[in-house]
Symmetry: D2
Subunit: 137 residues, 4 copies
């Protein structure tokens, strides 16, 4: 039952912008990469192809940016499970590169049922999923 995940990554060229640094929109993707790796470590896929009954859209996401990342920089995303409620999971993420503190983020997801032609509807997270994670103590 993992409570966190450390993703190691290197900056790709297409993630940089004309200011010469990683475009800020990429940090939200880095955070999600770490989340999906956490789910895989827990034996799950957040979006399995077979079953589309349940999905986990994001309800809020934020980042504070402290220092820039550059092309080919190696960095880590440390994603932590902060809270699990009946319908939501909240994570925090810290992005570091060596000793440099790059960015601090937060992400909340919600469990919804999906039926073609109907609006998404928030539901309780299946026990088979919440049982796979634990809040970081």
């Amino acid at each position: 039952m993992p409570s966190h995940y450390r993703l190691k990554r290197r900056v790709h060229f297409y993630e940089t912008d004309a200011a010469g640094i990683v475009h800020f929109s990429w940090f939200y993707r880095y955070m999600e990469e770490a989340e999906h790796a956490l789910w895989r470590e827990a034996g799950l896929s957040i979006a399995p192809r077979e079953t589309e009954a349940v999905a986990f859209p994001r309800v809020s996401a934020s980042f504070d940016f402290h220092q820039p990342l550059y092309f080919e920089d190696e960095f880590e995303v440390n994603l932590v499970v902060e809270e699990i409620t009946a319908k939501t999971i909240r994570y925090t993420a810290t992005v570091t590169s060596g000793d440099n503190h790059i960015a601090t983020g937060s992400l909340t997801i919600i469990c919804v049922s999906k039926k073609l032609g109907e609006p998404m509807k928030a539901i309780a997270i299946p026990a088979g999923i919440t049982d796979c994670f634990q809040v970081k103590s």
Copy 2:
């Protein structure tokens, strides 16, 4: 029955890279934006939400790059229907910015049937679609 489409666009900051120019991967997206605008002009959506029985994956796409585009440059994508066969449509695209010839591309799409859990299978393009376009003369 349109045979071509002229898309006018401006370069967004997140489309540039650390070399200070639009990253080449964006031109394939620009070409597709023009394609979908062409379909809308023909009264169609290339991916309607209601019916997922038919889809149009790309089978080949290429670009030659002549000059760079920069942040906030205004440019045009001129997309032309070059060929319609039983199962495929082939377009060419020229990207210009003022008098500058920026890039020349080509895109071929194929019609497939989609069923959940089954591999995609090439099928004839429905007549209701081919009737909406004509090859540029």
Copy 3:
């Protein structure tokens, strides 16, 4: 002296994900598109090619997501200047599609001096820039 900007946009196919909706990372780009359009309306470019002495990296950005956007949906981003301090500008953004309230965001940028080989350093926003905007009353 503009205090806000209304950006009208349509969802591109490449902005959607396998859940069938716009990937959440795109909303931060939509907000930035509106910001750069606001700067153009004020007669400025946020990243002119000639002078690279001053830049405006993002120090924080957040979004709450209320409803999804789908391929080809038309939507608006209403960006508002909320606060201007000596070194920072803070905006809020509301994303709507027809009568639907899609998302609510916030963005803070900071003015830095850029010299090749030196770290970015926060400086006062030049008066020639702050004079071009006003806080929404």
Copy 4:
């Protein structure tokens, strides 16, 4: 003196589109990721921060797509140096996932000198770079 590189990767969620498969524009990025990893293996960076005198824009890139990739699929990009001329390098790329042949690509880059405010100008690739690669025999 490497002549090829095998990049192993997994599909990220944000690389998929509403058709449920990787959007075709990503393959050009995958190919470039493999190219930059090849350069690192040769002891080089294709875009070092210190020196901006020389750059390697792309002059043409193409892909034929045979089968789709899905979220979390593991795949390989096998990038091969096919030709080195005075000013250009041409690669081919094959993308596979297990036994499935996914896509076949081609990429040609050119060496240019970069000076702020001047247009890019094609120049001979420095010997210190061409000496680091060999054409696949």
